[in-house]
């Protein structure tokens, strides 16, 4: 069924492109050719790789920090009350503002780019994990306490498995959000990566290349879902009936 819907999509695209016969909508064949040329010349893998690297680094930082802060805020009412407003404010600052400010304050450098992405993603992770922490089963925590579980044991065996669905939720929404923001970051202040290339193609009105890059990226995200996230889900849910 999924392959059928993909075929239908290609057919509609082909039909529309032939009917319009216009540079703004190239046929799938043209896009495939551009894609192949990009691969052969090494341009596409290079820029894709650069963007993916930024994605991995900023994602890892945001998730680690976000989980730690989220658990603390979920367990500590006073700290939560103190930071709650700030969290809402950071959740609502437009991505563009943080990106511009980071570049202005820290210069057009790699760490400023990563920082901008992390700041955009972090509040999301914190809020999700905080909600998860609030729903922790007190009965199980009491059990861990009266059987004298160490802090580490409690975290690994009692808390983390309960947070797992929330972490996976934050991961999926995070990947989607981060890669969109990274493109803007690259467009505004880097001289490589997908965002930079797309900007270039926009100035040249090269729609075929824009589509080829988009398809490459969407494929990579799908592969991440299929090869990493799905098996992870399956493994951690094996205890469910």
């Amino acid at each position: 069924m999924p392959s059928l819907s993909l075929l239908a999509f290609l057919a509609v695209w082909q039909g529309l492109a032939v009917y319009l016969d216009n540079n703004t909508l190239p046929t799938p064949e043209t896009v495939a050719k551009v894609f192949w040329q990009g691969c052969v010349s090494g341009q596409l893998p290079y820029h894709l790789g650069v963007t993916l690297l930024r994605l991995v680094v900023s994602f890892a930082i945001a998730m680690l920090l976000g989980c730690a802060i989220g658990i603390v805020l979920g367990r500590n009412k006073k700290l939560d009350a103190f930071f709650d407003n700030w969290l809402v404010i950071f959740l609502n600052i437009p991505a563009l503002v943080t990106i511009i400010l980071c570049y202005v304050w820290f210069g057009l450098i790699e760490s400023a780019a990563i920082l901008a992405v992390v700041i955009n993603k972090l509040p999301n992770v914190i809020v999700t994990i905080r909600e998860g922490t609030r729903t922790l089963d007190q009965d199980l925590l009491d059990m861990a306490r009266c059987f004298h579980f160490s802090k580490r044991k409690t975290l690994v065996h009692v808390i983390w498995p309960q947070l797992h669905p929330f972490v996976m939720g934050a991961t999926r929404s995070g990947l989607a959000l981060i890669w969109k923001i990274i493109l803007v970051v690259e467009l505004l202040g880097r001289s490589n990566g997908m965002g930079y290339q797309l900007h270039l193609f926009f100035q040249l009105f090269d729609v075929a290349s824009i589509l080829a890059y988009t398809i490459a990226f969407v494929t990579v995200i799908q592969l991440i879902e299929l090869i990493i996230l799905k098996p992870l889900d399956k493994k951690s849910q094996r205890w469910r009936r």
């Binding site: 009965d139 199980l140 009491d142 059990m143 306490r145 009266c146 059987f147 579980f149 044991k153 065996h157 009692v158 498995p161 951690s236 094996r238 205890w239 469910r240 009936r241």
Partner: protein
């Protein structure tokens, strides 16, 4: 093993909105002799679980003291909760291993699984167990830590009669093999008589001790439902204050 003395002067829950503050326990004194099986009998909602949580160290907000031997401290606890409270994402065996230090676990767990007839289910996740089996796992978990006091909070409630009887017999077998001090909470007098060395009757809130009665029936005759029923009738006739509680 050491005797344990529990003196709770008062335990109060603060007022919530319109409801005034609630005195759960007032002037409660219990002394547990080492190796003794004690059943706490009282009406539901009288604060028995609160008492167990205080002894387990889960609730520090009370006035009073708990003495282990002569020292004020919390005894080492094995808690069998009303719901088994197993970690659903860990297998039966892992659930038991988690309360132990990893090194000595095998020598402790295997015989316990054997007695409780769970050896074949040890690698199963708790969601696949029946309630009776989960209860048995939680009994193993409590015995595994070799506690100074075993706390049991109506562990046979909501089991059907044959299963309850089976689990009860397994529990007794285990307890006779390895005697521990037991505090067993129930509101079922027959069950209490079948299990206990000593019955302690508790009043409705504010909870306090109404009377203490030694069960004179020898352990060998506890299988006999008649003997238990006769003793129950005798209790109710002799002690009007107990009759009022039931």
């Amino acid at each position: 093993m050491t005797d344990i003395q529990i003196n709770i002067n008062s335990k109060t829950y603060p007022a919530i909105e319109q409801a005034g503050h609630h005195i759960a326990i007032a002037d409660l004194k219990l002394s547990l002799k080492s190796g003794e099986f004690i059943c706490l009998v009282g009406p539901s909602g009288c604060g028995k679980t609160t008492l167990l949580n205080i002894i387990a160290g889960l609730d520090d907000d009370y006035e009073g003291e708990i003495l282990v031997g002569l020292q004020q401290s919390h005894p080492k606890i094995g808690y069998i909760f009303q719901n088994p409270r197993l970690l659903p994402w860990r297998t039966v065996r892992e659930n038991i291993e988690l309360v132990l230090d990893s090194r000595q676990s095998e020598a402790i767990i295997d015989p316990l699984l054997e007695v409780m007839q769970l050896t074949r289910s040890q690698n199963v996740y708790p969601e696949r167990l029946s309630l009776g089996m989960s209860r048995r796992v939680s009994i193993i978990r409590a015995f595994a830590v070799d506690p100074e006091v075993l706390l049991m909070d109506e562990p046979f409630v909501s089991l059907d009669a044959p299963t309850a009887r089976q689990v009860r017999e397994l529990l007794l077998k285990l307890w006779q093999e390895r005697p521990h001090t037991v505090l067993f909470v129930t509101h079922d007098l027959r069950e209490a008589i079948a299990l206990a060395d000593r019955l302690i009757f508790l009043s409705a809130a504010p909870m306090t001790v109404v009377s203490e009665i030694i069960v004179p029936i020898p352990r060998a005759e506890r299988q006999n439902e008649n003997a238990i029923e006769v003793f129950r009738q005798q209790l109710i006739n002799d002690y009007p204050e107990i009759k009022r509680l039931l």
